[in-house]
């Protein structure tokens, strides 16, 4: 299954679960094999997806346990009306990061974590990789 097919199924309302520690994806409770695409400028796309996730419309139990997103009180009415659902934005972001983890496309240097300078709340840990 490609990533686009997976996200289309999520948009239809199928429940999913993405786990970084076990490196697995579950759709409707069943394990799924996904063909991840490789990108040249991974950092740019990661930031783009993170911003999409941060300003997405929150709902119950839709928040990721790995990444930080804004509360409803910090979003304007316009953002609440027009932005994407957090459930879908989270699937896009977590799936992209899982692709990085499985293909091992990140340089940590000597550090045990990586923190973005533009978005201090965006942190990747070395133990996931």
């Amino acid at each position: 299954m490609t990533t686009d097919e997976f996200i289309k199924k999520v948009e239809d309302g199928e429940p999913y679960r993405i786990n970084f520690e076990k490196k697995e994806v579950r759709l409707n409770g069943f394990l799924v094999d996904i063909d991840f695409e490789t990108t040249n400028n991974a950092e740019e796309k990661l930031l783009e997806l993170f911003e999409n996730y941060k300003y997405s419309v929150p709902s119950a139990k839709a928040d990721s346990k790995y990444f930080f997103g804004f509360d409803e009180s910090k979003l304007s009415t316009k953002q609440l009306a027009e932005n994407e659902s957090r459930y879908i934005a989270r699937a896009k972001l977590e799936l992209f990061v899982l692709g990085l983890i499985i293909n091992q496309l990140w340089d940590f240097g000597n550090e045990w974590y990586w923190q973005s300078k533009a978005e201090p709340k965006l942190v990747l840990f070395k133990k996931w990789f």
């Binding site: 309302g13 199928e14 009415t77 316009k78 009306a81 027009e82």
Partner: protein
């Protein structure tokens, strides 16, 4: 301090005054009237005494003094050309994007955003039966809370009435449980006469819905439509500067919405047509090309 007691010859009330003080009786129209000291001397109040105590302790009290001496407190806090003062003098409202039911406004705007898809189809696309149950139950909880606080005239009671909620839960019951359980549940719901009774009846069993169940009761769609249209209109008129195309200003457009609301509410809950209010919102938004500012 030594005090002496004085009795008024006219009405017979007694007052205590300090010995060294000035005489408290004054002649008016031939009758002796007692005048308390605090009324005669305006400068000696509790606040003034406290302020002097602060001053003697070395605290800067200039701002406090200017606040207390002026009659119009607002003008001393804000500058003369502050936009908030203008808003108050014009319409009586302070525009605040975080006020007054933001969430339902955003929800309704997401539903009417696409002109090609109707409101009902958009609801069917975005929500499922689980949401219908959850939303109605939360509304029930909230109304019980409001009644417990002593609120009786809230507009909320008009959209989801007790009769509406009973009808919605009766329609949902066969989708959520085994047929025999559903029958007993329906007979239990029909006997309810208050909100708390209905709450007790519903929590008697757990309600399971299938994953992609998209069944929407017609009654719920109607009530949801009414609440969404009414509160969205109120919100955008008050906070986003929206004016209905047939009206001139904020107050008159609020009045037309209120008039329409009262006309719909005059019917019984089963005959209320909330789609009229929704059509008012959708046509006026599309005519004026209105977009949310914040």
């Amino acid at each position: 301090m030594n005090k002496t007691e004085v009795v008024c010859p006219n009405c017979g009330t007694s007052f205590k005054i300090s010995k060294g003080g000035a005489p408290i009786s004054e002649l008016s129209e031939g009758i002796h009237v007692l005048v308390p000291e605090t009324v005669r001397n305006n400068n000696v109040t509790k606040a003034n005494v406290r302020m002097e105590a602060l001053k003697s302790a070395g605290v800067n009290v200039d701002k406090l003094q200017s606040l207390m001496s002026s009659n119009d407190i607002l003008k001393t806090i804000f500058d003369d050309d502050d936009p908030i003062l203008e808003m108050i003098s014009k319409g009586g409202f302070i525009k605040n994007p975080e006020l007054f039911r933001r969430w339902i406004t955003a929800q309704t705007f997401a539903l009417i955003k696409d002109a090609n898809v109707s409101w009902t189809d958009q609801v069917r696309k975005r929500y499922d039966t689980r949401y219908v149950f959850k939303q109605t139950r939360n509304e029930l909880y909230l109304q019980i809370k409001l009644i417990r606080k002593g609120v009786k005239d809230d507009k909320r009671f008009q959209f989801f009435t007790l009769e509406d909620m009973k009808a919605i839960f009766i329609e949902l019951a066969p989708k959520a449980m085994w047929a025999q359980y559903a029958e007993s549940m329906i007979s239990m719901i029909k006997g309810c006469t208050t909100y708390s009774q209905l709450d007790r009846a519903i929590s008697f069993r757990t309600w399971h819905f299938r994953n992609k169940c998209k069944f929407m009761p017609q009654r719920w769609l109607n009530c949801f439509k009414g609440a969404g249209a009414y509160y969205t209109l109120q919100n955008i008129i008050r906070t986003h500067g929206f004016v209905l195309p047939s009206c001139n200003d904020m107050q008159s457009s609020l009045d037309t919405v209120e008039h329409m609301f009262n006309e719909i509410v005059s019917y019984s809950p089963s005959d209320r047509r909330w789609d009229m209010l929704m059509s008012l919102l959708m046509t006026s938004v599309s005519q004026t090309h209105f977009e949310l500012k914040w």
